[in-house]
């Protein structure tokens, strides 16, 4: 199981064999409330770290989702098109949104570990 890292904007990323799975944290999913729509990124799109990758809408709010790492979108979670509630049910696993081909693994140093993220949440 790959290590999980978090951004201050509450995205998570898990890297394995140069591919990064990206989603939003359980904390973020809980704060958003019932997710109604996930605007998935286009396949092949390249993003820089912390740039807008996707967008998410819930009954309460609409938010952008930022790329935790730079890379190219190689897969999107199409299951979310018809069942966006997966994000609420399993934010940090089945609720993943996209796979990125990682451009620079050193960028992980700009992110928080699970322990650091949990400490960070206490400060909010």
């Amino acid at each position: 199981m790959a290590d999980i890292y978090f951004t201050k904007e509450h995205e998570w990323v898990k890297v394995k064999d140069g591919i990064a799975a990206v989603g939003i944290s359980e904390h973020a999913a809980h704060e958003l409330g019932d997710v109604t729509f996930v605007e998935l990124p286009q396949m092949g799109k390249t993003v820089k770290q912390f740039e807008v990758l996707a967008a998410i809408e819930s009954v309460k709010a609409a938010s952008d989702i930022y790329a935790p790492l730079s890379g190219k979108v190689v897969k999107v979670n199409e299951a979310l098109d018809t069942a966006p509630e997966i994000v609420n049910e399993s934010a940090e696993d089945a609720g993943w949104m996209a796979w990125l081909e990682v451009a620079d693994a050193l960028e992980l140093n700009n992110l928080m570990t699970k322990e650091q993220y949990e400490e960070y949440l206490k400060t909010l």
Binding site: T36, F37, E39, E57, A61, A62, D64
Partner: protein, 449 residues
Amino acid sequence: MNDSHYCPHTPEEIAEMLSVIGVSSVEELFAPIPSELRAKTFNLPPGLSEFETYARMQAIVADNNAQPTPFIGGGSYDHVIPAVVDHLSGRAEFYTAYTPYQPECSQGTLQALFEYQTAICRLTGLDVSNASLYDGGTACAESAMMALRVTGRNKILVDGCVSPFSRQVLKTYLYNLDVDIIEITPLDGQLNRSELTRLLDDTVAGVLVQNPNFFGSIDDFTALAEQIHAVGALLIASVYPISLGMLKSPGEMGVDIAVGDGQSLGNPLSFGGPSFGFIAAKKTLIRNMPGRIVGETVDKQGRRGFVLTLQAREQHIKRHKATSNICSNQGLCALRGLIFLSTIGRQGLADLARLNRDKAEYAKAQLAAVPGVTVLSGAPTFNEFTVFLPKPAEDVVAQLLKRGIAAGLPLGSYYEGAGQAMVVTVTEKRSKKEIDQLAKALEEVLSCN
């Protein structure tokens, strides 16, 4: 300022308000504004009593009674409005309501708008409609911005046969966006297809056309839709709703977004407004629709109800990333459109459209018989057609106006080299006698030098 009958505040109330904010007079309240920026006088006459005001207004309105027989259209049309439209839309429950900001409290308003959306979808042959926009011009602009959002591209091709008023609004709305708007010069009053083919590539977000177009010509954009879809662009058509009683609908042509002005549906000319704009699109585009959308649902007890749906697209939630800055709609005018369509029904709309076409065809034949006048041919028309005169159209229209006839819309201000052309509109309200009078008066005006 307290001697007017119409000032809502008494001197005591004004004194109380001034004391709360700690100034001694209204004059002191405005003192921080430099005196050179303040109006010395508003040049207002002294106040009038109620009956004096009434008499004054009647005298002004009397000037309107000398209204000429209208053969001018160009986007605003003189159609019959059944009395039920005024009666129902004038009910206080509808008349005083604004766009619902606490929407679910206003089930009646939401139901009316839901039914309006249903009517617009049926009329245009498309899947989804919003609760209305300001007018036809802003609807064109919103549809162009939809195409930009959907495709991620930044070029819009616009047929020069689209109303010059809509094109101007489009340019104004998109002025500060990084967008190329390319206009295609009309060819004989129709879309120049070879020029469009030359310009169309995978950098184009959308193509805006109009049916019938500003010259009155009817077109079938079915093949064009396929050509446009092949490069991944959207086809947007601005349509005249009454004409849809007999013409192929945007949906049948493969149009992605249909827009238009709703004035012709139960709304008076009123010197140019207010009106409403409509926008309908294929279901796949719904998340990029601007404005309010009403949806049908059930409440906790399973009863049918209505909500404002998909609000996450809107400005109050998505801020600067919203699909549009419109957080409103033209509820009352759209309601009139709904009542109009519900009253005349599907067959009624078809009959109304045919009546317009038939009367316009009669007028076309009468005007074509006037010496020196030719009618633009090459495409079928609905209730508008372009005629070429042997003299400047502005002058001819001015002379006919003196005879009580508003003969048409001169094209010289809108198209280069079109100074002798005008567009004539004939709705169901024009009688055979009025059409004959137009032809006779035109012949007389043209024959005298």
